[in-house]
């Protein structure tokens, strides 16, 4: 596994968000992810890199793909995995986070992956455990591993001019930015790596405060958003947003903001179509576009394992 050693070994303990990560650290992590991806093409898809480590998966909110992906990422490096799912149970509501983590700490995990409905919960938990914490999605706040795998997927798959880098590329995000941790983390990472981000949706779903961020543009015009974009990403629309009065109707939303072929024609000729999943076909994205050759939606899912392997490896190895 020595070949997998990252060029610059990270010294950080936690991954809450990407705010204070340097581009060099991100690229080092991507280099590690490349090695991990290579491991996953072998007949024996397993390395002993994390043998003897225990990874705890603490899911206070339901999740299938993120949990499976972290589970696989830990086991492919020979780590032991303990899973704690408390979505909707008494533990997730009203109990002190200190009591929760101190109880779970009996499992003696070296690292916890935490998914929680409240922003900041992973950071709070880190106050009361010695283990590393990886944010697996906290409320609307951040989903850093999703942003990492999105950027990595783009870098590996974009075939147009100046390929292989985020710098100078435009990411257009369509939909419910306000409630999206994926959008927040993608904004953070894409602009950090020198790209620009255009957010497109109705004012009720796109906070105007985001216009103040460097490298970020807001528009209510889907065509303007798509124009020249190198990546077009639709966000999952929660149907309850309509009930909450944020949208007049799903039909009107789809008519104005659905990511569809007509928009792709305005984009960079090699632009990629992305979606963090799960997809509502023909609501936020035209069904046919999901399966088109420009879509990397399945590649995003595939990227989950090597990128999360790299995250676990970077935070754990060398720690003891």
């Amino acid at each position: 596994m020595s070949a997998a050693a990252p060029p610059a070994r990270a010294t950080r303990k936690h991954l809450f968000d990407l705010a204070d990560w340097t581009p060099a650290e991100v690229h080092a992590l991507f280099a590690t992810a490349e090695v991990m991806a290579q491991v996953l093409t072998r007949t024996i898809k397993k390395v002993p890199a994390l043998q003897g480590y225990t990874v705890g998966l603490l899911f206070f909110e339901d999740s299938t793909r993120t949990r499976l992906s972290f589970d696989r990422a830990a086991r492919a490096q020979s780590a032991d995995v303990v899973t704690f799912s408390a979505g909707g149970s008494s533990l997730s509501k009203g109990e002190s986070l200190r009591d929760t983590i101190q109880t779970i700490d009996a499992m003696q995990a070296d690292l916890y992956v935490v998914r929680h409905p409240a922003a900041g919960a992973p950071r709070q938990l880190s106050n009361w455990t010695d283990a590393s914490i990886v944010n697996g999605g906290d409320g609307r706040r951040a989903h850093p591993t999703q942003a990492l795998l999105d950027a990595w997927t783009f870098i590996r798959n974009y075939r147009g001019a100046d390929a292989g880098r985020i710098e100078g590329k435009k990411l257009a995000i369509f939909g419910d930015v306000a409630h999206s941790r994926v959008a927040r983390s993608n904004i953070e990472l894409w602009t950090k790596l020198g790209g620009s981000v255009t957010l497109c949706g109705p004012n009720t779903l796109v906070p105007r405060e985001f216009a103040e961020l460097d490298g970020v543009t807001l528009t209510g015009d889907a065509r303007a958003a798509a124009e020249g974009a190198h990546a077009l990403m639709a966000l999952r629309l929660q149907k309850e947003r309509m009930a909450a009065g944020l949208l007049p109707s799903l039909a009107e939303y789809a008519a104005r903001f659905q990511l569809r072929s007509g928009l792709l024609e305005l984009a960079d000729p090699d632009a990629l179509v992305m979606h963090p999943g799960p997809v509502n076909r023909d609501l936020e994205i035209e069904g046919a576009l999901v399966d088109s050759e420009r879509s990397v939606i399945l590649k995003q899912v595939e990227a989950g394992v090597p990128v999360r392997m790299a995250v676990l490896y970077t935070l754990l190895v060398g720690k003891r």
Partner: protein, 422 residues
């Protein structure tokens, strides 16, 4: 317990604003005179200390009955005394809520037996704090309730607020409002703005406060009732009050130590200790509230001391309760930030914590005149001390200012001629 019968002299205390020192003699719970001669049963050396009327808080959550895990009368009134307060008005959002005369009388009796800060209870505006039916204001007043308020839960129904104000005006009762529009506030846990969007936390816009303040001021004008707007947190809200005051509306305004000193950036570390309602606003709001203090728009500073258990504040930010416990550090926080910070002088700060709230309630002006009640506080303006929550009397042994070095600590509090702290 016999101290109030004993003639007491406080020697050499400095009187704020006067820059002169005096011996203050106390007898039978009253200020007997200055620089008298004769013998005293108790001599208190106050060299280097400042003497002021004991502070009055119109906004204290004592959590009794029913939430004694958060605070008890002994811990809460002890904390008040340690904070320099001689009198507090307790909020009524307890369990059960204070909506019956018997509960009011019981609270007063329990508090009097403790001999700490004096308790003057508020009662709820609506039965069960449900916002539907008025409580028996007159009976509650006769039992000792001094204020009517549904504090903690905004009165959503404008018609109910109107009738409450009409009825209270007739009885000479003050209505205190928690002015936030609940339908606009929604599930916000912090101020809505750039910080909440960055942190991904549900926001509560200042407009929710300004709209509700506007409604409550209009109702005050309509009914002539005395309406006290609690914990004004935003520039928008304060501007509404100023506009109505210019038109002679019978409204008064309260601000809290937290809204005068902390901003929404405090939430960046995701610590629910900073989760409070109304929420901490922006630096521009803090600056505006401070300016309003300077211009005399603010009538009183109230603590909104709102203790919770540590376990409750160690929940996640969506489920942790709102509230900051602060009554023991209110004076040093405000002295350090506002007086040493050059915003207002000591005399004005003390006015906002004594004569200001008394005027809101229509009580006698507290002072240091011969014959006034001997409700006094001795303050050490010079010695810096680090906030050590382990020393709090309050059961909530944590707060936003833990570890901060502050000046202006109370060293002794006297109520009715009797030492209740120090």
């Amino acid at each position: 317990m016999e101290e109030n019968q004993v003639r007491t002299v406080i020697r050499g205390a400095t009187l704020p604003g006067a820059d002169e020192r005096a011996d203050v003699w106390i007898k039978d719970g009253l200020i007997e005179g200055f620089d008298l001669t004769g013998s005293a049963g108790l001599e208190i050396e106050a060299d280097g200390l400042t003497l002021a009327p004991a502070l009055i808080d119109l906004h204290t959550h004592l959590r009794v009955p029913g939430q004694e895990m958060k605070e008890t009368l002994e811990s809460g009134l002890g904390a008040a005394a340690a904070g320099g307060f001689g009198t507090v008005v307790s909020m009524a959002n307890t369990s059960p809520v204070i909506d019956e005369p018997g509960l009011v009388a019981s609270l007063i009796a329990q508090a009097d037996a403790l001999g700490l800060a004096r308790l003057r209870p508020a009662a709820t505006l609506s039965v069960g704090l449900k916002g539907q039916q008025l409580t028996d204001f007159a009976a509650l007043r006769d039992a000792g309730a001094v204020m009517i308020t549904d504090d903690g839960i905004p009165v959503a129904d404008s018609h109910l607020m109107r009738r409450a104000c009409e009825y209270a005006a007739e009885l000479g009762l003050v209505i205190q409002t928690h002015s936030e529009d609940p339908s606009l506030r929604q599930d916000g846990v912090m101020n809505e703005g750039a910080v909440s969007q960055r942190l991904g936390l549900p926001g509560n816009p200042a407009a929710a406060e300004a709209i509700a303040i506007f409604r409550d001021c209009e109702v005050a004008l309509l009914t002539g009732a005395r309406v006290h707007i609690a914990h004004v947190s935003s520039e928008r809200g304060m501007r509404v009050i100023e506009w109505f005051k210019q038109q002679g509306a019978p409204v008064t305004a309260e601000v809290t130590p937290q809204h005068l000193t902390l901003t929404d950036e405090s939430l960046a570390g995701f610590d629910p200790v900073f989760k409070v309602a109304p929420p901490l606003r922006t630096a521009a709001d803090v600056a505006y509230l401070r300016d309003a203090l300077r211009r005399g728009v603010v009538d009183s500073i109230g603590t909104d001391h709102a203790p919770h258990t540590r376990a409750e504040k160690e929940r996640d930010l969506l489920s942790a309760p709102f509230g900051i416990a602060n009554i023991e550090v209110t004076l040093p926080v405000l002295y350090t930030e506002l007086v040493l910070g050059g915003v207002i002088d000591l005399v004005e700060l003390l006015r906002l914590l004594t004569a200001g709230p008394a005027a809101v309630m229509g009580w006698d002006e507290p002072g240091l005149a011969v014959g006034s009640a001997a409700d006094l506080v001795l303050i050490d303006l010079d010695t810096p001390r680090t906030v050590d929550p382990a020393r709090f009397r309050s059961k909530a042994k944590f707060g936003p200012w833990d570890g901060r070095e502050l000046r202006g600590w109370p060293v002794m509090t006297i109520a009715g001629g009797r030492r209740i702290f120090g």
